[in-house]
Amino acid sequence: MKVYEESGCFDPNSITDCQELMGLAGGSSTTNTLNGLEDNLNLSSYNNHQHEDASAVAAVIEMEIQQHYMFDNNTVNNNINNTHFIPQLTQELSYDQSNWDADQQSFNMVPSSSSPEAAYLLNLFHLPRCSFLPNSSISFENSPASSVVYDPLLHLNLPPQPPVFRELLQSLPHGYTLPADEREASGVGGIYHDGDNGILEFARDIPMAGHGIGRDRGGKTTKHFATERERRVHLNDKYQALRKMVPNPTKNDRASVVGDAIEYIKELLRTVREVKLLVEKKRCGQDRSKKLKTEDPTSAADAGDVECKPLGDPDQCYNTSLRSSWLQRKSKDSEVDVRIVDDEVTIKLVQRKKINCLLFVSRLLEELQLDLHHVAGGNIGDYYCFLFNTKIYEGSSVYASSIANKLIEVVDRQYPAAPPTSSTCL
């Protein structure tokens, strides 16, 4: 009689589930040998729960699993053999415990050729299904792409095992740990890998679903480890490259990098649009100044609308649209926010140092041909904080990013000159 014993912790919160499981595939004589394990798993003994048709059930299960997971027939048949069962089971349980991580719930692949019953029964317990169950394109063959061997039990959320059990596990050769241990896995590996690193490989590129899948759980077959790692490193390099291009990089994690990149791209698009507009206006102005001077059309069209200038100029300027753009720049001790609508520029400056930045800023604004209309600000704790409302002098074609960049530069540059330098003016 087979005893099917699973680790039985499908639902980590309920021992009763495990008990049911044990009852389902109730064991017979061989339960004795498993008692030790059972106890260690904190399951009540099931010696008493023996279903009469346990063997029938087991057979059915095997058949289903065989179909379901496309296993190599030979391996399955081997596994049906009773005598191999227990060692296989324990081997299965010998997966490195570090792989049992709550995060990997997205996986429910249990195509372990050595314990089809386990696979089936695990499936019974409504574990989250993997989006690419075997009927799809997953190949269980040796794939040239780098691949990952997944620990079928990793989603099981096994409760913390008592130390005895842990020792028991660790005493068995691991097939799925760090690559350094790969070679040790020969004892176990023979069964799982079937000699050709076959059964449990997944092409890495298949999972588009879910980011967690991209992480590498379990060990890797040595053949593909190098390319796998290389690929990861490559990808990380790309993220870093992206981060470097961005002017205000914040945190170092991938999500922030992507978020910053998105903001930066939007900003670049705004800037390009703005400068294009300015160029157009300039060109228009130059062309018109060659002819008779005419009044500038001051009608504010809707943003983006295109209208011809009056007076039938052959060179038509298509930009009576409102110019608007904004940007932010942060540096270690300062923050600049520039917003432009038409010809009004609003600048917010927050600066950490205690220097007379008002002077430098107003000088810069002069240079940039910005006419100060309002200023408000002052000292707040360690910071100087200012808000400038300015108007662009007619004819100047300054744009948001140029303002922001120069401002940040000026403000940061002045730090060494901490005591305000006296300047001649009178």
């Binding site: 291009m245 130059q286 107003s362 100060l372 002098y393 007619e394 744009y399 330098t421």
Partner: protein, 209 residues
């Protein structure tokens, strides 16, 4: 022959075979109806085609793998940066070559006149508050660069401005600040007032640009 109707009472752009002017004459009613039908079929077809295209583009995006997405982002950013640089250089060139010096002066001349109209006068008022702080209020005629000069002057006198507020109104500028001696020394109210008055007068008389 395709014609784009912009500003007609059709909400979209219709591209049609323009056989007859759409004037709503009775005789042409039948033709118009036919036109309408063609237009509408065409419209639908066109819309469907566009929808199909955009759906496919979205699907293409969703199917790209992570590495490609990142690479594409990098390329796109580089491209945008290049474009923006090219454009700004172009702008600079045009800036250099254009000659538009007349207008800015116009604003300043107006400033002086406006002040006289409103009866705003130059003024400096200094009050002592809270120990060694001074509350300074200045009204001066707004000129290009006057604020900078004022700040420079106050800097020179080693004032540290803790709160500043500036407003402009009709060619005059009102500055109100809370100043402190940088080195902690107490500033004398009278002296400060006189000094500042001198300063703004010289600013006003200063005609360099």
């Amino acid at each position: 022959m395709n014609t784009e109707f912009v500003g007609s009472d059709m909400t979209g752009i219709s591209i049609t075979d323009h056989r007859s002017p759409n004037r709503g004459r009775n005789g042409r009613r039948r033709l118009e109806d036919e036109n309408e039908e063609f237009k509408s079929k065409n419209l639908h077809a066109e819309r469907r085609r566009r929808q199909k295209l955009s759906d496919r583009l979205l699907a293409l995006r969703s199917v790209m793998n992570k590495a490609t997405i990142i690479e594409d982002a990098i390329t796109y950013i580089q491209e945008l940066q290049k474009t923006s640089q090219v454009l700004s250089e172009q702008l600079l060139e045009m800036e250099g070559s254009s000659e538009e010096g007349g207008k800015p002066l116009r604003i300043e001349v107006d400033g002086a006149e406006d002040i006289k109209k409103c009866g705003i006068k130059e003024e400096v008022k200094v009050t002592s508050i809270d120990g060694n702080k001074l509350l300074i209020k200045i009204i001066l005629e707004k000129k290009r660069g006057c604020f900078t000069k004022l700040i420079e002057a106050m800097n020179y006198l080693s004032f540290e401005l803790s709160e500043t507020s500036v407003t402009t109104f009709k060619g005059a500028m009102l500055i109100s600040t809370c100043a402190q001696g940088i080195y902690g020394d107490t500033l004398m109210v009278e002296q400060t007032q006189e000094l500042l008055l001198e300063i703004i007068r010289s600013i006003r008389d200063c005609s360099d640009m």
